[in-house]
Symmetry: C2
Subunit: 413 residues, 2 copies
Amino acid sequence: MSKTSLRINSDRLHGRLAELAAIGATPAGGVTRLALSDEDKTARHLLIAWLTELDLAPRYDDLGNIWAVRHGAADLDPVLMGSHLDSVVQGGRYDGALGVLAALEVLATLQEADIETTRPIGLVNWTNEEGVRFEPAMTSAGAVAGEFTADWVLDRRDRDGIRFGDELQRLGFAGSASDRPHPGRYLELHIEQGPVLEALGRPVGVVDGIVGITWSEVVIEGQPDHAGPSPMHLRRDALMAAAQLMLEIEQIAVRRDPTAVATVGRIAVEANVINTIPGRVTFSVDFRHQSPDILEAQIEQLHEAAANVGVHRSVDTDINRFWTSAPTAFDPGVLAAIKAATDLLDIPAHHQWSGAGHDAKYIADICPSGMIFVRSQGGLSHCEAEYSTPEDIEAGANVLLQAALALAESPDV
Amino acid sequence: MSKTSLRINSDRLHGRLAELAAIGATPAGGVTRLALSDEDKTARHLLIAWLTELDLAPRYDDLGNIWAVRHGAADLDPVLMGSHLDSVVQGGRYDGALGVLAALEVLATLQEADIETTRPIGLVNWTNEEGVRFEPAMTSAGAVAGEFTADWVLDRRDRDGIRFGDELQRLGFAGSASDRPHPGRYLELHIEQGPVLEALGRPVGVVDGIVGITWSEVVIEGQPDHAGPSPMHLRRDALMAAAQLMLEIEQIAVRRDPTAVATVGRIAVEANVINTIPGRVTFSVDFRHQSPDILEAQIEQLHEAAANVGVHRSVDTDINRFWTSAPTAFDPGVLAAIKAATDLLDIPAHHQWSGAGHDAKYIADICPSGMIFVRSQGGLSHCEAEYSTPEDIEAGANVLLQAALALAESPDV
């Protein structure tokens, strides 16, 4: 059988997805499988059992990242495929899990057909991608990529004060730094977690990169007062000022281009009492864009808009930009291999940027990397209703298979 | 000495204001004297001592309302002057207290000059005006006016479950229903608690009535989603919809007339997380106006605005109007007496409506009533910085004196 006619086994993949989804299953059909929880431990042992069944020798490193590699003809760093088995609280069955099990399915398909590749092909499960239990997100791919030190990651604590490193020991997955994976190329299949592919009627997306994100906190100080005796023209209402500024923030994204997004997700109002004019409002601003220059321009526009609202409404405004994650453009060669796979499979793919972070963001710092998105029904994720159809999942997994095969044969991507 | 040349003693009034402000005094110059607290008890005993010094026999009724009346030539219900001694937490020295002590000062002035009036003139301190410890506000003037039954008021409980009636017993102020005051006319002097008099440069206001208030809760249901992967045009952001609707609500008041006010004081956002598009926002709307028809029109405009935002942004909106207090217009004869007093005293007064509730709102149901406002520095109240100048207080108290004298001589107001 030629490599290009090779296809994954959709039934086997879905059987394993169902088996994995039973671990930490929630009544409404989702999963709660927090990083380094007992559920995560059970899921890890299941993955190891599956890898062992395939005659692949699983290993884990000092961050608990589990990985395994098929032999390749050349002594080169592998094409690693992967994602994460941990979930958010009451999350879905696909976020992360699909990327790991699609990678496993690719390895099973290659083993079954006894395919020889030049570069080895392997799988990785990154510990604590979600960052829900141990902040921040993507700690362990980050540590492998040099973004964080292992000591720092192992010292993270959850809300009960429990240490990441201690939980890793408890689970039996505290390995050695010498056992870290060394990807030569990295591919991550993930559900889109957004509505774009559905809106366009495309099953699969070629992810050109991960957008930059910058977070700010805006504080508006007005004058608290009784709702009754203050005429409208004498008020310095911090919430009305915030409302005006929020609509300006929305426009900063809308006016820019169709990929720019801006979100006000969190707001706190003082006194937050029905008959008191709000004196102080604090809210968050999340700007995302693939261009770092445009992110900077958006921050500048935020300052201008806040200054205008301040003058117009006699309120004081303060903006604290407290976190920025630079955009990551994926490797053109890896993206070309993914696109070629969609062409080969006759799958109408769409080029897009990821609005959310993924392990691939950090791994892209150490090797040529790329991502494949699978359409999400309703664009929903991080909820129990998260869903992708078996057909879309099969299409995505076949793209992963063919892209991995191509990358294994083109060492100079 | 003719009645019209009679003036209150500003030093005596300020001495008593200072003495009263020491009871429940806060470090920053305010007071915390919650209804039926130990501080309220001390203040009540001080008032009783002052009334007794004036040879007036204080009484209290089943709600703990304390009152005393000077003899009049005619056997008519008295002109009662009053307000309340209770305060909010970390409130000011003038809210309520000034109305009681200005009334006391009027009685002291009349006693000292041995003035005979046709109608008796008296003083009342209404229990629990603020409603901070025992909700709702103005319980005891309300009970006297027939708005609430005494049993219902006595059964109110504070946050610790302590019963109003039990506290009244504990304080020694649980009197008899047969001892309730029977005002023939009612006058209430109060600080403005708003910025209008200051903005106009007037020391005193003639309060034409108390505005109607209607409270609604608006719920906006959008679609919660990740801040990253959702393009702006596919979002159903409940907070951006709320922001747009809030600005419309502001305009509903601004476009109406200079007296209309609208306030969004309280807001709750779900999930209220920095990187999640808000899926659900709940906020309060407080409309106030002296015309009941305009209040209804404003509610109608709120529904229209919400429907427009709903269509424009593909969100569901729901409006629950849960409380309305009808406007109260004060008695024209009483208002004329107040205005005549300001003319007599050559005080530039301003006619205005009160945006906040006062005991006079309920008492107006049982006898001709009116209010006098004294300018508030910065419009501030319900805070320790609350302040009115001695000159403005003196002006207001003299208006109270002359209005009470006039009302005592014109039984058919």
